[in-house]
């Protein structure tokens, strides 16, 4: 305190040093004040990583199973996609796929045939979703290898299939058993295929496990009578930044044959819109949390400042400007906010990483829903969350110090004169 007092007209008082010393004067109280920020910052980081985990989970599951980052289908398919019409399809894969895959923005182009079928074990029929896929190329996307519970993957060119674990259980089928698949062809006649079950799948997406049949693409083409065609081609972007614009890039650079359309995943359905609503709701939640932490800081800062009214008055009498006084107190708030955020960041990061490693199992909640979401949520920690929490914490500290600061400068001169 002594240095600035020597010269009554210090143009640039060392506010930072002063404020720092003030926070150390009553360490106990500083810790108390900071504890609010610690808890709030830790909570913010955990909640951000948790919601990021959920949203990434939903978006990924949706992109990998339904929409890709862009999707090529027959014209009008999307309006009727609930019926999975085979007569609206993407023909000429032999030419189309190489052309798509050669585009620099495209990481992979995956043909799939989707159709509603009846799975029959000769005793009963169960409605199922049949998907014909290119097993080799789906690695890292639909990732049949990772889904594989028991047995092995079906091989291209052979009448083999992989069943969702729930479906296999209902039909009482295990690897090695045979299964009859009944469905429609693209020409609306009845089609049938007898396959050997080679494996069962656990995708982590509840409704898929209950209904999915995975076939080699060529077998699905046989069943649907669709040689060299698929019902959709899913496109995935090489670069995460290009996910949203992949559809427009492709439409510009590649001649899309007539009667086909390219759709971005952002244009599909209301699901991703729902995710935006969820983001907004969480943002509101975090702001309220910080407001509460702010009130707690106001409380303790107010006490710290009012206690020092006399001293602040002295500083004012010696020529420290109003603005500088306010800055002095606000700097103290900033420091407390910063310290609190730092400790809170460590705490929140620890919890987020720990839970992120363990995961939160919500499979009980997902049972029976058609929400495309994996059944384990892994909070997804990212350094930007720490930045957000620290930013909010520091801003809260400074803002919350403002009211005590204003009160102090109002009281200080009078208090100083009274002595």
């Amino acid at each position: 305190m002594s240095e600035p007092l020597k010269d009554p007209v210090v143009a640039r008082p060392p506010l930072l040093g002063l404020a720092w010393r003030n926070t150390l004067r009553n360490v106990r109280r500083t810790l108390l004040t900071g504890s609010a920020v610690v808890v709030a910052a830790a909570a913010v980081i955990f909640m951000l990583s948790y919601t990021r985990g959920i949203i990434a989970n939903v978006e990924d599951a949706y992109a990998l199973t339904e929409s890709g980052h862009a999707r090529i289908t027959g014209e009008g398919y999307l309006d009727r996609q609930r019926f999975m019409p085979l007569y609206l399809n993407v023909p000429g894969l032999g030419e189309l796929l190489p052309s798509l895959r050669s585009h620099p923005a495209v990481a992979e182009a995956l043909p799939r045939i989707r159709s509603a079928v009846l799975a029959s074990n000769d005793e009963m029929n169960i409605g199922a979703l049949s998907m014909g896929v290119d097993f080799a190329r789906e690695e890292g996307y639909l990732d049949p290898q990772r889904m594989l519970g028991e047995g092995q993957l079906p091989r291209p060119g052979r009448a083999e299939a992989m069943l969702g674990a729930g479906l296999a259980g209902k039909l009482g089928l295990a690897p090695g058993d045979s299964l009859t698949i009944l469905g429609q062809t693209a020409w609306r006649s009845f089609g049938g295929l007898r396959v050997e079950v080679t494996g069962t799948a656990r995708s982590g997406v509840a409704y898929l496990d209950a209904s999915l049949i995975l076939l080699p693409l060529d077998q699905a083409q046989l069943l649907a009578d669709l040689p060299d065609a698929a019902t959709e081609v899913l496109l995935f972007a090489r670069d995460k930044e290009q996910r949203d614009e992949l559809a427009s890039l492709i439409s510009l650079d590649r001649p899309i044959p007539e009667r086909l359309e390219v759709r971005s995943w952002r244009q599909e359905g209301t699901l991703l819109g729902l995710m935006d609503v969820a983001r907004a709701a969480w943002g509101f939640f975090l702001v309220i949390l910080m407001a509460m932490a702010g009130l707690i800081i106001v409380n303790t800062m107010l006490m710290a400042v009012l206690e020092r009214t006399r001293e602040l008055g002295m500083l004012a009498a010696m020529g420290l400007r109003r603005g500088s006084l306010i800055r002095l107190v606000v700097t103290e708030g900033l420091i407390i906010g910063l310290l609190g955020s730092a400790i809170g960041a460590v705490l929140g990061t620890g919890v987020a990483l720990w839970v992120g490693a363990v995961g939160i199992d919500i499979s009980a909640a997902m049972e029976g829903t058609e929400f495309p979401m994996g059944s384990v949520i892994y909070p997804d920690w990212h350094w930007t969350q720490v930045a957000v929490a620290a930013g909010l914490g520091v801003a809260t500290g400074a803002l919350a110090a403002l009211y005590p600061a204003l009160r102090a400068v109002k009281l200080a001169p009078a208090e100083a004169l009274r002595r």
């Binding site: 108390l32 909570a43 309006d79 009727r80 209301t270 009130l295 409380n299 919500i362």
Partner: protein
């Protein structure tokens, strides 16, 4: 303190002391209360919205899907995913009589639920078909007739289709369009019938809206080879009696017949009910964070007070007040802070709760009309007024606030009088 303080204070005196201590630093008390009131407010609002959603969902299930209870043929319920026709009820009239004689049963009506493929001539999908009494008695149990949003309800002879709104949209079909219903009869024969759509229903219940059509019971019986039969008897209870007791009485009335299975709506929808509880638990995690931050606020303030009042507490101890009494004093101050904050948060929350309980919030404005938001509700969602929950949250706040004061109270009472006085 004026006169000498006795070692142990009576509760009234202790309370007065606590109140005075809180009033000594009004600004601080009010700020702390506001922090806690935030948490209480959000807890109330969240609980009100969620309870409203749950109640409305359960009502919706009862009104459109499960009734209060249903009687099935033995074994049907276990195979309900397949809607088997070969496990159906016959002797409906006799069963109806036995059921409606049970006190507390308001009405009962037979229905047939069956698997069907619905086609507009271009595409077809597997859906659930429901054959319902069109003479009017279905409306004694269910409320389908009031959910018609386009066209009209089924004609008395039952020939016609009511489409779920999601199906109507998928087919781009409406009243006046003809559709083909393809079914397998009870004996396993494929059978197809052309029928005209008379109306579209929007119930908010995805299993109806997205996945079902309704037609008259008699035409359904004829089509499915189910003459005189039904797959279920749906029962509505009188509103004034306890659900459980009617269910018990029904069970007794049907006990003599072991070919039957009685399932209350909670049994039919046990999965959905479990799901709502999981969702509630998820939200509770977020609410707990609010509460923790609020409690940090209380703990802070009370700890500050303990530090600040070192001399005073020392004086009290020196004059013979017991440490336990000092502890009680601090706990009481914490509890009173919680009680006041609870009152504040509750008062502020009651405004929106009562308003939206009366007016409801239109969710369909936020989401697509029949999007599955995880709760089967349509149109307006009315917040629930739950006096018990409000009271519990309020009193709970006081208890938690007192708990948050434990450390401060322990610190304050552990002071040694001599040391405390040295600060003077």
């Amino acid at each position: 303190m004026g006169s000498l303080v006795p070692g142990k204070l009576g509760p009234v005196l202790l309370l007065r002391l606590a109140v005075r201590n809180l009033l000594r630093n009004r600004r601080r008390t009010v700020l702390t209360m506001i922090t806690v009131a935030f948490a209480v407010f959000f807890l109330h609002v969240w609980n009100s919205v969620l309870t409203g959603l749950e109640r409305q969902s359960y009502d919706n299930l009862i009104l459109y899907q499960t009734a209060h209870a249903k009687v099935f043929h033995e074994g049907w319920f276990e195979l309900r995913d397949e809607l088997p026709l070969d496990r159906s009820l016959d002797n409906i009239d006799e069963l109806l009589m036995r059921v409606t004689e049970v006190p507390g049963v308001a009405a009962a009506v037979p229905r047939i639920a069956f698997q069907a493929h619905l086609s507009d001539g271009r595409d077809q999908i597997p859906v659930q078909g429901l054959g319902i009494e069109t003479s009017g008695s279905d409306s004694d149990v269910f409320r389908i007739s009031q959910a018609v949003v386009e066209g009209s309800y089924l004609p008395p002879d039952g020939y016609g289709l009511l489409l779920g709104s999601g199906l109507a949209r998928a087919f781009d079909a409406g009243p006046g369009d003809w559709m083909t219903v393809l079914v397998r009869t009870r004996t396993g024969v494929w059978e197809a019938q052309e029928m005209e759509v008379t109306g579209v229903v929007l119930t908010g219940n995805p299993s109806i809206d997205q996945n079902s059509f309704l037609m008259g019971l008699e035409p359904a019986r004829a089509m499915l080879d189910m003459d005189g039969r039904a797959t279920e008897l749906a029962i509505r209870f009188a509103g004034t009696v306890s659900e459980r007791s009617v269910l018990e009485r029904l069970k007794e009335a049907l006990a003599s017949d072991d070919g039957l299975h009685l399932a209350g709506w909670r049994e039919q929808e046990s999965e959905f009910i479990a799901l709502t509880e999981v969702k509630r638990g998820g939200g509770l995690v977020a609410m707990a964070i609010f509460v923790v931050v609020a409690l940090v606020g209380v703990a802070n303030t009370m700890l500050l007070a303990a530090f600040e009042r070192t001399q005073e507490v020392g004086m009290l101890l020196a004059m013979g007040m017991r440490a336990a009494t000092v502890r009680w004093l601090f706990l009481l101050e914490g509890a009173l802070t919680g009680l006041g904050a609870g009152a504040l948060g509750t008062l502020v929350a009651l405004g929106p709760i009562f308003y939206f309980a009366a007016r409801g919030i239109d969710f369909s404005a936020m989401f697509a009309e029949d999007m599955d938001i995880g709760y089967p509700v349509a149109g307006r969602v009315f917040w629930a007024v739950t006096p018990a929950a409000i009271l519990v949250a309020w009193l709970g706040t006081a208890v938690l606030a007192a708990a948050a004061t434990l450390y401060a109270a322990a610190r304050a009472s552990r002071m040694k009088p001599a040391e405390a006085l040295r600060h003077v």
